[in-house]
Symmetry: D3
């Protein structure tokens, strides 16, 4: 906190969308994950594509990709950028569906928020399609796992940090 991160502060101490125009566009990548915790019976329905509202993971994938593109419209101080690729995948556990979202671009700013937003909206879509079976589902463990490009170079979350 003492390391001079005061670039966001305008003369009156109010919020602004910090200026990225002096930066050069570089390749950026970010990877985020979250989990939708649910009853084993619900996971089984998802796995067997037996949810009556339709193909849960197919719909969640599309919703996540679309959400990545809309991130700056949702997150107030997030810079707009053009996502160059979005990749959403799922791993099924006994009591959860894990969502993984990876976003890449060539831009002046990173794509962490795009990856986190894509994972969140994919998870919310899973919740929506399964909620008639299970109202007690919980979305958790939403975190950034990898970030490549920009001033901070290559960063990976360590397993032990996981909640």
């Amino acid at each position: 906190m003492a390391d001079g991160k005061l670039t966001h502060l305008d003369p009156l101490g109010r919020a602004r969308m910090v200026d990225v125009t002096p930066k050069e566009p570089t390749h950026r990548r970010a990877l985020a994950r979250c989990k939708v915790f649910m009853k084993p019976e619900t996971t089984a329905l998802v796995a067997n594509n037996a949810v009556t509202k339709g193909d849960v993971l197919g719909a969640a994938r599309i919703a996540g990709i679309q959400a990545a593109k809309r991130t700056p419209d949702l997150i107030p101080l997030c810079h707009p950028l053009l996502v160059g690729s979005v990749y959403i995948n799922f791993t099924l556990g006994d009591t959860y569906v894990e969502v993984e979202a990876q976003v890449e671009t060539v831009d002046r700013t990173g794509v962490e928020m795009e990856a986190l937003t894509a994972a969140s909206v994919a998870a919310l879509t899973i919740y929506d399609m399964c909620k008639s079976y299970d109202r007690t589902m919980v979305v958790g463990d939403l975190a950034l796992w990898e970030k490549v490009g920009g001033r901070s170079g290559h960063w990976r979350r360590e397993e032990a940090v996981e909640l």
Copy 2:
């Protein structure tokens, strides 16, 4: 699953946005909560309104309210409705900020997804504004806590269910 919840199934077993037109509009309410887990130093910055990007909770509140209105645009099979009120609040713990979102409407369908989406986007906004301090924040415990109105009447999440 055996209780006849097959209303979403179209003749080819594909997804559809289930028909709510035969229902009468009634008063609906839903309450969702989640937590943004962060280092105590980061929580302190939020509490003291010392985050350089600006007023974190003020921005998150606006972002959550706006997200409630855009829920059907984000979640593919979610019915559009007109939210009648949105209320976002925050509780600060030592290592987390808890987000609470309550949505009300008079409509043919419930507002769970609106409350969950509002809480998620408020949490993502907190993440975005604090991420230059702490890349290891985790958003978790996103769950529905109360639901009023509609066929299922009044439902409350029991504490013990919490993750």
Copy 3:
């Protein structure tokens, strides 16, 4: 044209979104269809879910449902309304994929534009996912096939009218 349909005319002869507030909300339904004409090899790829960009019909269905909700945002003089159900289905012929979109609501105005827009955007999504195989695809035969509710009652397109 001589039958008094001049209600849209404002004092200066300019466009306006005609007033529907004096009408009572009633149940409305509309059914639209179109075809994406393509090479038999492309149809076979769609049928076998072998298109490398992914599940073509699954993505097109989601895109069509989302487009139905966004119709008033796309078509300038179209009244906003809350779609109560959207149903998108596909029929595969040797040289085309037929898209069928049905939309229902309870409102003061009809849902023809929602059904036509849903069918169009589903067709465009099919085009997008198959275009690396076949740049010569044609979208055609987009028409309203049925309209229920409102002043004009129940209307069905006659087969012979088809292009």
Copy 4:
């Protein structure tokens, strides 16, 4: 200010979108006006449809109608509603174009913000299309002129109040 308008205050004194669900839907109407002040030569170009970017008033009318529909997406605490009619008109003076926007609906909340937003965006569109001729244009006198329906009944702005 002393008359008990504290309904917007949540327990922590923070913003919320105030609850309109207890109200009954009634017919609402609002009328707003603004002016785009410009050089007489620019007004002449608009009047003669000689602006090279195209039909200024036609484009501004469409932009204003679309903006009325998007008002709750732009104004954070504005309730979503379904506009039932939008009417945009123009009066040309020697040194200004006056924009008039009227919006009607049947809802639990008023349409002032929709009328004001429609007028603003129509004015901004006029500015955009004429700005290569005149960078010194000013948009002003944006005000509510009439409001019908809701608790406050029928209200009209008095001429003398005009700025």
Copy 5:
């Protein structure tokens, strides 16, 4: 199909928005056309600007331009890009209005979907404004006619291919 177009395939065979970040931005152009088939009386109304809903072609042009900008928001796997120009024009035949949309940009990906979407939405707008005269209109012959830039160079649709 056997020529190695498997770049869209992720490890699980699911959809992803394919990565365009390794490509260099180049100038791109695409031209699409479609027709709105209608009764001669309806075409005459459009030609004489006598449609009561207002200036049909003016509104359709604006709607098409706006749709070009929103293409990635409508088509799930479509990459976002910044359109550099959009040009919509119309040709009136005895029984149809032909829509032509041309889009240009400098980007890593082509603008075919932008041109096709612009033409579609312009056609839907024509339908919307004329539908009180003629419910049997058909939108057809939507096709890509020219594509410039990118790996495939300059491509033109041959007349004989037309449906």
Copy 6:
């Protein structure tokens, strides 16, 4: 008008979004201002953060930043671009709140419309939050004050030009 600004004219004299692809991206900046005129009592409420709807200037700042990003979606012939920074600030006078919006980017086209739109929407948000106190507020003096970059170089509005 005689200086050859006919580049927007297409062969039929209709509107088009003029082609910016031949231009090189350069740094652009624009500054716009407007005023919300209100009763002294209302200004005092804003200054003391005593408006019951919440933090007026905080909400207006977020709304203005979000509006800058959505400008091309609101203004039909406005080119899409990626804003690199947005800065909204306020000055309180006895009978007005002045809004100042500055936008920067590196692009082929200027950001005047982004700055003007941000200022307008921030002003509309102030109006919305204060309107229960004062229905006679007026938004005025919306003008471009500075423009840097592009063919026209550095331009500043002269004080005397102010309305």
